[in-house]
């Protein structure tokens, strides 16, 4: 006999739920009930231990810049912008942009704080320097 179907396999998948949460102003990541670790990006099985027994938790939004870059653009295509990798306080790492300061001023090790913003009509998690 197959074991009981895990609740997290039912209904809309974590990909859709993640973006739906963002639209409702909530930045949530997944916490594994089996191994206790957190993970991002959203997926059906814990990336650490493979368990489907996980729950959404609110991310604190606190993060640290792990690496940073500046995408240079021709003026007619718009201003240069930052692309960074952010280590979340909860553990996972994600790509994002650090905004509200010049792209070249984003430094590795900088403390940043998440907010929910919009980029090309998509609701996304962005960051700005902590304490601003």
């Amino acid at each position: 006999m197959a074991s009981q179907r895990a609740a997290t396999f039912e209904g809309p998948g974590p990909d859709a739920v993640y973006y739906e949460n963002l639209k409702q102003g909530k930045f949530r990541i997944q916490h594994c009930n089996a191994c206790g670790k957190n993970f991002f990006y959203p997926r059906p099985l814990c990336v650490h231990c493979g368990s489907p027994d996980w729950a959404w938790i609110d991310a604190s939004g606190a993060g640290t810049v792990y690496s940073t870059s500046v995408v240079r653009q021709r003026p007619e295509d718009g201003p240069d912008y930052n692309i960074a990798l952010i280590d979340l306080a909860e553990g996972p790492r994600m790509m994002s942009r650090v905004v509200d300061i010049p792209a070249t001023e984003v430094k590795i090790g900088m403390k940043v704080q998440a907010h929910i913003g919009e980029l090309e009509k998509q609701t996304l998690v962005l960051f700005r320097p902590a304490g601003r």
Binding site: S67, R93, I108
Partner: protein, 383 residues
């Protein structure tokens, strides 16, 4: 006991197209020229090919398209696994296993691309991605983030990155096939237009057209062919991630896993290597791979290249054709680094020939530093 795949297969033919601009030609037409030249080099008919290995971002079902398109009538093994630019290096591992087990007898690995003259724009990323919505300029951006981290962690400088590009150009100047052969200085690299900080345009590979193909057979048949066989001594493959945000440590690539496996199969250490051919999509690649190969300690790749080790006349000649930075880079470079290794081990590399080269160490890179395939090739003397 030696690994059963050590020396089990040999490259007995390769073919190339001109590098650079092949306007008005489709990627399959370019691939066809390379295949024609490879079959001629091996002295075989197309219908002797019974294993087809090749992939292209344009061809999701490549391994059934290519037999149809090129009229390969006796195909028994089809493999169009796409793991980025290292697909063809991965194909060498797959072909070796298939040949060794007798699933096929003559493997053809092939690629062709018109990425320079075609007008298609690169997309934001591969497949479903949580990185792509931030609009990183891929693939450059992923490698720029790795360089940024390496510079922060180990003090690697833009000057040191420039030495990788300058060294590649110096080799290209010795290679009549290379696309960019004008002199290049460190100062010019540093002054070049910025693309994605910390990379300027000279930190980035070329975008060219070009094709390459290779014929591989079991070693027991290798001497039936006209050209000097080049044997596969070892191979190792590994992957750490797909999107760059998921790479565990941006300063350590999967070469750190793949290379020791390849060395163990080949029964060599880095001290035995005469010539190195790596996938230098960006200048940081070469530094990361030299460290992960074990030619220098982690973090010391910058000073290692700045000391002239990899340039003509250096102790560790690397990318002797000029690499993806100066010779050829038609979207995926994996074929071309193997071709250069074969030409070096045939002793047929002309002005850029490494005297007495017996062992070549190769590494194919795919995606965003995502897949790494290390290969060791040797001459008959190394068997």
């Amino acid at each position: 006991m030696a690994h059963p795949l050590r020396g089990a297969v040999a490259v007995v033919g390769f073919g190339l197209t001109p590098f650079g601009e092949l306007p008005g030609r489709t990627h399959l037409e370019i691939m066809g020229e390379a295949i024609h030249n490879a079959l001629a080099d091996a002295g075989i008919d197309k219908n002797q090919v019974d294993g087809i290995f090749g992939s292209n971002f344009n061809d999701p079902l490549g391994a059934i398209l290519y037999p149809e398109y090129f009229g390969l009538k006796n195909i028994k093994v089809m493999d169009s696994t796409n793991i980025g630019g290292s697909s063809f290096n991965n194909a060498m591992q797959d072909a070796a296993a298939a040949l060794h087990l007798g699933l096929c007898d003559v493997a053809l690995i092939a690629y062709g691309s018109n990425t320079r003259t075609a007008t298609r724009r690169a997309g934001p990323g591969f497949g479903r991605s949580f990185d792509a919505p931030y609009r990183p300029r891929q693939p450059i951006n992923s490698y720029a983030l790795a360089a940024s981290r390496h510079m922060h962690q180990y003090g690697t400088t833009k000057e040191q990155l420039a030495h990788v590009a300058v060294s590649a150009r110096q080799w290209a100047q010795k290679n009549p096939r290379a696309f960019m052969r004008e002199p290049l200085t460190v100062e010019e690299c540093l002054k070049a237009r910025m693309v994605v900080d910390p990379f300027g345009v000279r930190d980035c590979c070329l975008v060219t057209d070009g094709g390459a193909a290779m014929v591989v057979v079991r070693a027991d048949r290798a001497k039936d062919f006209a050209k000097k066989p080049v044997y596969l001594l070892g191979v190792g493959a590994a992957t750490t991630h797909n999107d760059i945000s998921q790479m565990p440590d941006l300063t350590v690539t999967a070469v750190a896993q793949a290379a020791p496996r390849a060395y163990a199969m080949a029964g060599i250490t880095v001290k035995d290597v005469d010539v190195i051919e790596v996938y230098d999509a960006f200048t940081i690649n070469t530094i990361l791979f030299l460290e992960d190969f074990g030619f220098c300690k982690k973090g010391e790749g910058g000073p290692f290249v700045a000391a002239g080790n990899i340039a003509p006349g250096g102790a560790h000649p690397l990318n002797t054709n000029g690499g993806g930075l100066s010779c050829v880079h038609p979207g995926m470079y994996g074929m071309f680094l193997m071709v250069e290794a074969v030409e070096q081990l045939r002793g047929a590399a002309g002005e850029r020939q490494i005297e007495g080269a017996e062992i070549a160490l190769c590494n194919g890179n795919g995606g965003y530093l995502s897949s790494q395939i290390t290969l060791v090739f040797g001459t008959e003397a190394t068997l």
